[in-house]
Each structure stands twice: as structure tokens, then as C-alpha cells.
């Protein structure tokens, strides 16, 4: 279990904009530590966003996404009070889901 994500979801004229910051090291598997050993890759591979249980965005990420990843997207529909949930999974089998209420 990683640290909580910071998610903001805002409805405006029938379109909901979601912005999220996830806490993750996103180690690319290219860097070396001080003894010259490669630090193994550890990054988010899959993301799913849902609105009231319906999937509104799914994503697959490689190792090139930055540390503590940022993601912004928007979808039609969604009203203040609805729930938006975001789930990530990483290549070590860890996952986390956080939910926010649309403002």
C-alpha cells in the first residue's frame, strides 16, 4: 500500500475534470546506486479511473512516467457529490485505490 493519492475532481457545465497526484517512486530500472548496482524497476503499470462505478479512463504506463506521477483528464457527466475513484497497480503487485467526491 502506497501513500494516499491527492485527487481533485471538479464538475463544470456537465464536464468533470479530474487531476491527481500519486505518490510513487517510479524507479525506471536505469539508475545505479552508489555501489554501481542497477536499482530494479518499480513503477505503476496500470491505472483505472471510474465514476460511480463506470470506467472513465484506463491507462497503461511504462517506466518513463515521472516520480510521483501527475494525471489530468476530463469526462462528460458527473455532478457535485458523485464519487470518482482512481486505482493504480505497480509491477511489484502493489496497488492502491482512492476515492473523492466531485466538487
Amino acid at each position: 500500500m502506497g501513500k494516499p493519492m491527492r485527487i481533485r475532481a471538479k464538475a463544470d457545465n456537465g464536464v468533470t475534470t479530474v487531476r491527481a497526484l500519486m505518490a510513487h517512486v517510479m524507479e525506471g530500472g536505469q539508475r545505479k546506486d552508489s555501489s554501481g548496482k542497477v536499482i530494479p524497476a518499480h513503477h505503476i503499470t496500470d491505472i483505472t479511473a471510474s465514476h460511480n462505478g463506470k470506467v472513465v479512463l484506463s491507462a497503461q504506463w511504462g517506466s518513463a512516467v515521472s516520480q510521483n506521477p501527475f494525471l489530468a483528464f476530463s469526462f462528460k457527466g458527473g455532478a457535485a457529490g458523485d464519487k470518482v475513484a482512481l486505482t493504480w497497480k505497480d509491477n511489484k503487485g502493489d496497488s492502491r485505490t482512492d476515492e473523492v467526491t466531485i466538487a
Binding site: 536505469q30 472513465v56 479512463l57 483528464f73
Partner: protein
């Protein structure tokens, strides 16, 4: 039903051989099916894994910086104005693994996303879009003054 079974056996066979030869690791073999393109190390291979040669299109609007001071955090975004867009991929041409991220849009979701990626050096950021089963692409160069892929 039999075909599926055949395919499963065939795929396991081929991948199994590659694993035993040590060409690819088991993790990569498992990942190969679900995540096309992410394990490829060249830009051309990554595009091929997505389904071949995309047509250039100015209807893909790239929101990438001209100059990125820090290659570890490069804000990238793109919007596809092509009707019927279902998928979008971000590729960083000269990265060790060019395919950075892929997004799938169900109906009703704007085909407009933003995220942040790492860039090893000055190169083209290419966005490939799938609309009605066809591939389109647009790219733009971002100059990186400090690489972000370690080393």
C-alpha cells in the same frame, strides 16, 4: 474453443522457448501479452507493437514544452480532435524504453490527457492516436538540458 486452446499452447510454446534460451526473462514473457510495446527498446519497434505505421495528423494537438530544464519531470499533454479516438500513446523517441504511457478512452471521456514523463535527452515526443481502428501520429521536439533517466 479449440482454436483458443491451440493458441494458448502455441504462445506458451514460443514464449517458453525464448525464456529457456534466456533471451527474455519470465517477467517480460508474462508482460508481453498484456502490454504491447512497453518492453521494446527502439522507437520503430514500439510503433510496430502498437499496430504499424500511423498517418501524420495535425488534429492531434501536442502540449509539450520546447525546452525542458529538468528531464526527470517533463509535463506532456495531448488532445486528439480526430473523431472516434479510442486510444492514445505517448512515445519519447530516444528513451531507453520509448513507450511511456498509453491511455484508453471509453465513450464520453475527453480525448485530452496530461501527465509528466522522464526524458533522457533532447528528442521528439510523439503521440500516436487510434481512431476507428486507424493510427495517427504527431510529434514535436523537446530540448532537454538535464537528462532524467539516471546513469
Amino acid at each position: 474453443m479449440n482454436t483458443t486452446r491451440r493458441q494458448v499452447i502455441k504462445t506458451t510454446g514460443v514464449l517458453g522457448t525464448l525464456v529457456s534460451l534466456g533471451i527474455i526473462t519470465q517477467a517480460q514473457a508474462l508482460a508481453a501479452d498484456e502490454r504491447p510495446g512497453f518492453s521494446t527498446k527502439s522507437f520503430a519497434d514500439a510503433v510496430n507493437a502498437l499496430g504499424g505505421s500511423p498517418t501524420n495528423s495535425a488534429d492531434i494537438i501536442l502540449d509539450t514544452p520546447d525546452i525542458a530544464e529538468n528531464g526527470a519531470v517533463v509535463p506532456v499533454g495531448a488532445e486528439s480532435k480526430i473523431p472516434g479516438t479510442t486510444d492514445m500513446w505517448f512515445l519519447i523517441e530516444k528513451n531507453p524504453y520509448p513507450l511511456a504511457a498509453g491511455f484508453s478512452f471509453p465513450a464520453g471521456t475527453s480525448t485530452d490527457v496530461k501527465t509528466r514523463v522522464k526524458m533522457g535527452q533532447t528528442t521528439n515526443v510523439t503521440v500516436v492516436v487510434k481512431a476507428d481502428g486507424k493510427l495517427y501520429a504527431n510529434s514535436k521536439e523537446t530540448k532537454v538540458t538535464l537528462g532524467g533517466c539516471g546513469g
